[in-house]
Amino acid sequence: MATAEIPYQETVPLHHPKTWLGKYVFSQDHKVIAVQYGITAMAVGLVALVLSWLMRIQLAFPGLLEGFGPDEYLSAITMHGMIMVIYLLTAFLLGAFGNFCVPLMCGARDMVFPFVNMLSYWVYLISVILLLVVYPLMLFTDVAPTGAGWTLYPPQTITAGTPGADWGIVLMLASLAIFIVAFTMGGLNYITTILQARTRGMTLMRMPLTVWGIFIATFLGLIAFPALFVSAVMMLLDRLIGTSFFMPAIVSLGQKLEYSGGQPLLFQHLFWFFGHPEVYIVALPAFGVVSDLISVHARKNIFGYRMMVWAIVAIGILSLIVWAHHMYVAGMHPYFGFFFATTTLIIAVPTAIKVYNWTLTLWRANIKLTVPMLFALSFVLTFIMGGITGLFLGNVIIDIPLSDTYFVVAHFHMVMGVSPILAIFGGIYHWYPKLTGRMLNDTVGKIHFYFTFIGTYVIYFPMHYLGFVGVPRRYYETALGGTFPDFYPPSAHYLNIFITIAALVVGIAQLLFIYNLVHSYFKGEKASDNPWGANSLEWRTPQTPPSHGNWDERLPTVHRWAYDFGVPGHDTDHVPQDVPRKESA
């Protein structure tokens, strides 16, 4: 191979930042932006955690919290849901992992558009501020956070019977629209970088599955988020200048409103056209991360790589035609039920294949039970649980009795709350050494793992059964002696108390994680360049943590996939991607 040819991009001088501000605040380095996204998402996640405590305390011990009435409860469920789905999970998996992993794993110097990438973070921060500014505003004005539920279904979103229907909802919609701008700037970067800036030899079918997950998730985001964007704008118009996109003629609390002729179901279609792919925008990067963690820490190639890639692609495409399974009881044309139940259950096949392949990767492996591996294994189990309860709800007729009950709450928390968060934790424990140059504390990590995994499981597994009993979701009071119906057995209320206690414990256990992150940053054991013995390119950087520009003069050249573990005929149990193949094959 002629060594004289050095591609253009390798010789382009990077504009290294000259000031502290340029290096750490308005940085264009994808790794710094990833940290900024990560810290912001975790901070806003803590707000959501506290809100969930308030809700759980109200459900188990009604009346204990002074001043936490139905308005505050509904605002809490709305803000909790919105934060977790959009501002934490989407922002973390794509903003933090996407930014950190994509250029490093593809062997690129940075994102293709570093300036736009930086803007993406700052616009995201504006959307977060706009989302949370309602809390300080509450203290000084009569603006209240919206209590419309995170699905924001009109007409109640902007009518008087809902808390925050005047200005709270306006802040929420504006924040969402701005988030989508931020996402688009980030997303275009991920896709362009993956398609244009892979290093020599990094064919698409050699990319680590993390990159595949982020790649397809970003595609979905760029298709789905515009639907949310237009529905947010249309609802703002309905609210502010009196259009009737979503508003039919109604009489709200005795007052005839000016609206007429709008269609509430139109909003639901737009919302779920975004909302269902959103599930996979969160799930696909988590799938990718978990695939890589399992393979690396089990010291075995991921089983059925090509099938895993095509499953991600198939899930991505199918996820665009299943949205109305959220609307089986919404009053849409009943024949839609046949179509959407069928597409939804078809999606179970590629998803199940992924689960089989994760499990089969363990077969005849050499499994190191490191903290990232523990999180990855627990992800598989909670994802199976969340997946099979999805088979209940996706099958239209079973959804009829179970929709809008705690079964749904348990299902989506298991599949879209617990699972991706376990994957995020696993990913953080896995990549922290590369990011900071220090290892996280193993003992604290294991304690954190056991509390988080077992704790979340005992919160959400029994909760499915409250749904069978018939406890509706989004009820301010479900305790006996309140306004709840007679058929709710006392034993179910004790279960509710148990769930609340478990939720409090799991929440407190997260302090261990934050302690570990901060303490290890200063005092943690020094990490080597490749502490886990992994193969993908981020572990092959000349420095740890990688410098601005990631690589030396030359970009690495890729000769193989990222999963060469236990290859016969090698001295070590793994062969990194940039190690050439032996001449004689």
């Binding site: 139905p70 308005d71 509904l74 209590g147 279904y153 109640q156 009518t159 008087a160 019977g161 039919p248 003629a249 009489v251 709200s252 609390l253 005795g254 709008g262 509430p264 190639n301 089983f303 059925g304 009881v329 919404a330 039920g337 046949f338 139940a341 069928t342 078809i346 179970a348 096949v349 294949i353 392949n357 499990t359 089969l360 363990l362 005849r364 492996a365 050499n366 190191k368 039970l369 294994l377 189990l381 199976i384 099979i388 088979l391 209940f392 099958n395 079973i398 009795p401 809008d404 009950t405 059964y465 069978f468 509706p472 989004r474 306004t483 119906p485 007679d486 058929f487 573990f565 290859v567």
Partner: protein, 376 residues
Amino acid sequence: MLVALILLAVVLGSVAFNFLSPWTFLELGSNWALIDFTVLVTFVICGVAFVILGVYMAWWVYKYKYVPGRLSEYEPENPKLEARLTIVTTIGVVVMLAPGLVAWDQYVRVPPDATELEVNSEQWKWSYRLPGEDGIFGHAHNKYITFENPMGIMEGDPYAEDDIIITSQTVKIPIDRKVKVLLRSKDVLHDFWVPEIRAKMDSVPGMVTYFWFQPTLLGEFDILCAELCGRGHHTMRGEMHVVSLDEYETWLDAQVTWAEMKAGAIPLSPEAMQGRSVAESNGCFACHSLDGTRMVGPTWTNLWGSTVQMDDGTSLVVDEAYVRESIAEPGAKIREGYSSEMTPYEFSDEDIASVIDFLKSQIQEEEQVEQPESVE
């Protein structure tokens, strides 16, 4: 070892919980046994898959734990195994989907002999309309709604005259009669749900949605609202009594038709009329009923001049001072059995006087008052 045991414990514990826990569907009260059957099929298939995968995971984590120097088996793909697993999964999915789609087909095709029941929903109460002797509903639309015409029935529609209007939150249904439920909403989305019946459907303002069922169990069932509808969502509660045909006929005879309702409306004085419109435009009737029904707040029927119990054990007579205070500062005195959920309102003296006139107009003779429904 510990990890494998914990994984195994989680899997087996989940199975044990499923069989030992007391929580499951309520007794089926309708024809929808096929729904319960589909749930059972799904439970079995998913449960078996969950146990197999979980046990294998735990077993392999234990069996293949790290041994330094050992190499794992290098097997990137196994097309035959992958194909087999895909086929088995597809079969499982088909077995679950098939009864589900058959049941859905029955759910969306209403039998021709079903009788119709219109359910009206609004924040935060239910009311009902039956088509009357001609079996046809008069045309109705939200744009026709007034205080005297709460269901928005079109003026001059001959089919409307014999429609039966039930403003109480309780509806009775004869056992074994197929019912097509037509759902309408005055304001926001609601969802009519009786857990024992299994069926539910949203009501959407501007359109009429439907489902059907056939009650098979005598009894009194709660009607819950299952779609978030604002701050009173959890208090929106009706009752459906499934009764014998005789009892149903007796109940039906006691209900008023639309024609009777129009003729029997008690005329209000202009001051009381003014008070009613003040109350209406401030949303008072979302929480205070005018028929003796208990809602979020106390009913206004026979309230004026009555002696009421407070939650601190005292009692007082409802007079102008109390009404004035309860509007401006609702938390000051709370009726026994109610909670402090009302927000304060600033009314002018004139408005308060008119509301009091309206309260006075709501004093009825004892025998006309419906029995207050017990809510527990």
